[in-house]
Symmetry: none
């Protein structure tokens, strides 16, 4: 069944029928996770539909989280199934950070250049390109800082440093608006560790004190890196809270 003869058996639009056909193929591993889907042009021929219809179907699959599309490279399968039972909903990236709205970023240092290999390794990425790196403290005026943070923003997307500081961390939302590159996916890891002397000094805490470390990778729709961050929080000053709600069954 390559031609879409769904019209004869249901009233579903063609792009929905195509999305379903592709979803079914992906669920069977054809193609599997990590592999490329046929190109839009090929799908037009295989299923005898216009490119518009193919694009609509692919958009649905992308929104379902099954595929990621990259201009020039193609469309890769990222998940076999959409598995949604519990969900944590966040208003925006700043909710993810869990800092109070008035927690300001105080830059301590900045530079622009390729990512240091040790930094890339710590953040779990293998990425080339130039990044704006801003190192600073995060906290309310007059209170102990809650985070010592390093942000790395792709230089081609980054604002000016002072504008970055004024954004108080909402840089990915600025990039979405001003650069037309919205964040589509965020990977965060949370781990425990002990503060180094340098970290403790900047945070006015004790060396060796327990700390929470949060690392984030921000990706665009095509899976390319937008920004990275690495923050450390003294244990006494920060706890990460999350709420998950059960969702309706599909």
């Amino acid at each position: 069944m390559t031609d879409l003869d769904m019209a004869s058996t249901s009233t579903a639009p063609r792009y929905m029928a195509l999305a379903e056909a592709l979803r079914s193929r992906i669920a069977q591993g054809d193609p599997d996770v990590g592999q490329l889907l046929p190109t839009e042009h090929a799908l037009c021929e295989t299923y005898s539909v216009s490119r518009h219809t193919v694009r609509e179907a692919l958009r649905m699959l992308a929104e379902a989280g099954l595929i990621a599309r990259r201009r020039g490279a193609g469309t890769v399968v990222v998940a076999r199934e959409s598995r949604q039972r519990f969900a944590q909903h966040l208003g925006g990236v700043d909710d993810l950070m869990q800092y109070a709205r008035d927690a300001q970023l105080t830059p301590l240092a900045q530079d622009t250049g390729p990512l240091d290999p040790a930094v890339a390794r710590a953040l779990g990425v293998n990425v080339s390109g130039v990044f704006l790196h801003v190192h600073g403290l995060r906290g309310r005026v007059g209170e102990p800082a809650i985070a010592l943070t390093d942000m790395y923003i792709r230089a081609d997307l980054a604002p000016e440093v002072q504008a970055f500081v004024d954004l108080n961390g909402a840089v990915t939302e600025w990039i979405a608006q001003q650069r037309g590159v919205p964040t589509a996916r965020i990977e965060q890891s949370i781990s425990a560790g002990a503060l180094t002397e340098r970290e403790a000094s900047a945070l006015k805490a004790s060396p060796g004190e327990a700390a929470l470390r949060t690392r984030r990778r921000y990706f665009d729709k095509g899976g390319r890196i937008i920004a990275l961050s690495d923050s450390v929080h003294p244990a006494q000053r920060f706890t990460y809270e999350m709420v998950l709600q059960r969702e309706a069954e599909d």
Copy 2:
């Protein structure tokens, strides 16, 4: 500003600029909730763009939950602002725990009774009733344990202890099936701390070593507590990973 001259000030696509212009209007109540947006045709003329571009912009606003579109009737504003942007989706509670499937629970102690006030305080609850308490280690056979955990399950819902152990932590799913009480909401907090001597001894780690502490509260539909848990993980053995996807809202 009716023509889209965004191209001269940013690289954002036209449909995004239009979506932003309309989102801004809606935020200002022009049109207000319950009122109709101008038709697609009118927007094409007002903003000097094709219908395709208008439709893309409207699709974005619809996905953001700001508008609802009805064939033949028009497009109505349903919300002034979008409040939900990102979500973390989990297949089930065991995904939340992030233990390998074969990570077994070894009980070290158990008892049944009311919640100790200190425990209740640590877990952020004020609850009466009787709980089955199981204290144990979690890890793969032959490997260092990754968690020392205390689980508290409402006694009226709890399985037998041996059955509980066989469930390997998926007790809330057993309760959903066998007791007809599904978990509707989970609250989790993640913090850093240092291992106590007792904890370090059980985990075969060093006292004072940095550790991640995860605490969870499981609620049913009516907001009543089903279970509680408090786990501590040596830093070197466990990192909490999460992935958030940008999503449409309903």
